[in-house]
């Protein structure tokens, strides 16, 4: 049911982005990348934050299930982070004529955040399964969350004029239709991420249970 809702929302967001939202006077058609690029980036932040929250719960309550939940959330965040970098790079080429701009603090900090969480997997799988691995992974995931507000606020703190600022203290810098389209797209991507999170978690739990069962039977 949730998967069908997510799929319907994604379809609606695409229709709104291409057929309802007006074309941007400055950037033209390439601005339509915004409707999925920004929600994907925000969803990546949410996934990393969710992973850190689950890591905190693991360290606090010492319940084993939080380790897997934190891992799956970080995995989702990394997928959405890679998508953010890919779509952002395409948008940069369309708007600025360059695939990547090292002068933009927000871009570089997002890349740092992405690489930090990519290293999470190397660290996690370099340790044998057990409480030690869960604890080390949780502490690492918690450290990474500190990069999220830095990455998010970098553009405002550093007065970065390269990467556009859409949301300012005066509200969203776009028309009502554009903002509505953005909200629907964000809802769609969040729903999609939640469905992926639930399915992946279910698969991993089933896998672990089957492994235990196999060991008991053989």
């Amino acid at each position: 049911m949730l998967a069908a809702t997510a799929a319907a929302l994604v379809g609606l967001a695409i229709v709104l982005a291409f057929f309802v939202a007006p074309e941007d006077a400055d950037q033209g058609i390439s601005q339509r990348i915004f409707y999925f690029h920004v929600p994907i980036a925000l969803t990546a932040y949410v996934c990393f934050g969710w992973g850190a929250w689950k890591a905190l719960l693991l360290l606090w309550k010492r319940e084993e299930r939080y380790d897997l939940e934190s891992y799956v959330a970080v995995h989702q965040g990394t997928i959405f982070g890679a998508l953010t970098l890919a779509t952002g790079s395409i948008w940069a080429k369309a708007s600025w004529g360059k695939w990547w701009v090292w002068d933009s603090n927000q871009l570089v900090l997002f890349l740092v955040l992405f690489l930090f969480y990519s290293a999470y997997f190397m660290l996690r799988f370099s340790i044998d399964e057990g409480p030690r691995r869960a604890n080390v992974s949780a502490v690492y995931a918690l450290f990474g969350v500190a990069l999220i507000p830095v990455s998010f606020l970098a553009i405002r703190l550093a007065e970065d004029f390269i990467h556009p600022t859409t949301f300012t203290r005066d509200g969203p810098q776009m028309t009502g239709t554009m903002f509505f389209t953005f909200c629907v797209a964000w809802l769609a991507i969040t729903a999609l991420a939640y469905v992926f999170y639930r399915v992946e978690l279910l698969g991993k739990r089933l896998d672990a249970n089957l492994r235990e069962l196999r060991e008991a039977l053989t």
């Binding site: 058609i29 990348i33 369309a94 992926f196 089933l206 039977l217």
Partner: protein
């Protein structure tokens, strides 16, 4: 197709392909789990006194 349209198509294409690949991987994993469950059920049946 203009240059802008090509970039928009590329960006949405990347998203579509990523989601598709993810779904295919998850589907393959669920199929493997289903197969393993059936194998274990068969093993358990053979081991049970009446099986």
């Amino acid at each position: 197709m203009s240059s802008g349209e090509k970039y928009v198509a590329a960006a949405y294409g990347v998203i579509f392909v990523t989601v598709l690949v993810y779904v295919v991987i998850i589907a393959a994993k669920l199929a493997r789990l289903e197969r393993e469950t059936a194998e274990l059920a068969e093993l358990a049946r053979r081991r049970s006194p009446g099986g």
